[in-house]
């Protein structure tokens, strides 16, 4: 499998036209094995095989705005099974990161809010503190009461810590956050 990130020198993400070349999307013969094996294809606006075809046709704007790149669960079934060794999940990663970088409105806001809340917690504590991360996520999505019962039952089972487990060198971790983030 050709993994995009292993081919590139660190810190120089490809532009859209070189993505098609690096990911070898031209090798795709539309066997649709990726979409057939994708567990979440039913919830996507474009199926994985369509995404690969759209990359090869240069349909950047539609791709950055679609919900597929946020619904993708990064399970790697597509990349693992592709007979032409196209790293389809890697293409999804690239599209998602580029959508954020170029400030394209996110089709699945909940998913990017979750990533933001998660990474905020890491930046603050060095580790994820689940309780405050969930609170943060709920503030952002305004879905305050979803999963309240679940949270309470986790708490009574000793699974939600009240206090974060902070690390000693928090600044060292915070210093790794240089990008704009979700």
């Amino acid at each position: 499998m050709s993994d995009i990130s292993s081919i590139l020198p660190s810190g120089s993400p490809p532009d859209f036209s070189s993505l098609a070349e690096i990911a070898n999307v031209q090798d795709c013969f539309q066997c649709q094995k990726c979409s057939a094996g994708c567990p979440v294809a039913f919830a996507m606006d474009y199926k994985p095989n369509q995404v690969i075809q759209m990359v090869s046709l240069g349909m950047k704007d539609r791709l950055l705005a679609c919900n597929t790149i946020w619904i993708c669960a990064s399970c790697y079934t597509c990349s693992t099974r592709c007979p032409n060794e196209i790293d389809i999940a890697g293409v999804m990663d690239w599209l998602r990161r580029t959508a954020l970088k170029e400030n394209v409105p996110v089709a699945e806001k909940g998913v990017s809010f979750f990533h933001a809340a998660f990474l905020d917690s890491v930046r603050t504590h060095g580790r994820v503190h689940e309780l405050s991360m969930m609170a943060h996520y709920k503030m952002k999505t305004r879905r305050y009461f979803d999963d309240m019962k679940l949270g309470w039952r986790m708490f009574t089972r000793g699974k939600l810590r009240i206090f974060p487990s902070n690390i000693k060198r928090k600044k060292e971790v915070a210093g790794l956050f240089t990008g704009p983030g979700p």
Partner: protein, 285 residues
């Protein structure tokens, strides 16, 4: 034997019983787990999904600490394992040399160290009559060029361990299907459809419980069964074990009851019906 240990954030919270049972099994095997000093979050799928450099750097910080310890690094969480292993491959590839230690999940560690043989000798209470399906999910096996797994569509390590403990691992076709863990809080509708299918297929295969090695799979499968039952009209009450819990139970560890209490679907009813734990109504051992 000594090894570095990276619990990761989930094992300090929602997957406490995975941490407790993994440490307990290690002690019984005479393995000293040295928690990585001042470890930080691996970045998980949130860093990976949004910022490539951040994902690499968050994982690399922990790998640097592990390098100073000079021992193999055991990573029980499948998501942490995948992130750390991918970063380790990338860094040693860039440098053109080995990092000097291996990133291993606990199953790999048991087989590579030969301790799986020792495990069998230590069994005090074989889990006879317990029918389970082993569920590996995504990140323990995929992508195979990161994990190095050869049988990535049909892994068998967990099945072999469970068999050594005397339980019956039932073959099924959904071992590596995704449970949707990364969408658990954000697109619960999708997740319930995926987990519902896994329950249905597990029961169809004849399983009484599922065994996992990932805190996200466990919590995703364990915590929403009531909700899925309500919405689908099927009644699901399938205990979801960490494989380390079943090993601990078979090895007669006295804390097993404490681990099981943390589950949403209490597995003690099933275990009592097999005579594997003391039940309230069934006092015989």
């Amino acid at each position: 034997m000594k090894a570095s240990y990276y619990p990761g954030c989930a094992l300090h919270g929602t997957a406490l019983e995975y941490d407790e049972s993994a440490r307990a099994v290690a002690r019984l095997l005479g393995v000293e787990l040295v928690e990585l000093p001042d470890w930080s979050c691996c970045g998980a799928s949130s860093a990976h999904a949004t910022d490539e450099a951040l994902a690499l750097n968050l994982a690399a910080r922990n790998l640097t600490i592990a390098g100073t310890q000079g021992m193999d690094l055991i990573v029980p969480c499948a998501a942490c394992y995948s992130r750390l292993k991918a970063a380790e491959r990338k860094i040693s590839g860039d440098r053109g040399r080995d990092s000097g230690f291996r990133v291993l999940n606990p199953m790999e560690f048991l087989f590579l160290s030969g301790l799986s043989v020792r495990l069998q000798e230590l069994v005090k209470r074989p889990l006879t009559g317990l029918k389970v399906v082993c569920y590996y999910g995504c990140l323990l096996v995929r992508p195979p060029d990161v994990t190095g797994v050869k049988q990535y569509e049909h892994p068998e390590e967990m099945d072999r361990l469970i068999e050594l403990m005397g339980a019956e691992p039932i073959p099924w076709s959904y071992k590596t299907d995704c449970c949707g863990g990364s969408l658990s809080l954000t697109r619960t509708d999708i997740v319930m459809r995926l987990t519902g299918k896994l329950f249905e297929k597990a029961i169809e295969a004849g399983a009484e419980a599922m065994v996992v090695a990932c805190p996200l799979c466990q919590s995703n499968l364990d915590s929403r069964q009531e909700e899925i039952s309500r919405e689908s009209g099927n009644h699901y009450e399938l205990p979801i074990f960490y494989f380390t819990e079943l090993i601990g139970l078979a090895l007669g560890h006295r804390d097993a009851d404490k681990w099981f209490k943390r589950h949403f679907v209490d597995p003690r009813k099933l275990l009592a019906s097999k005579g594997l734990v003391r039940g309230r109504s069934n006092e015989k051992e």
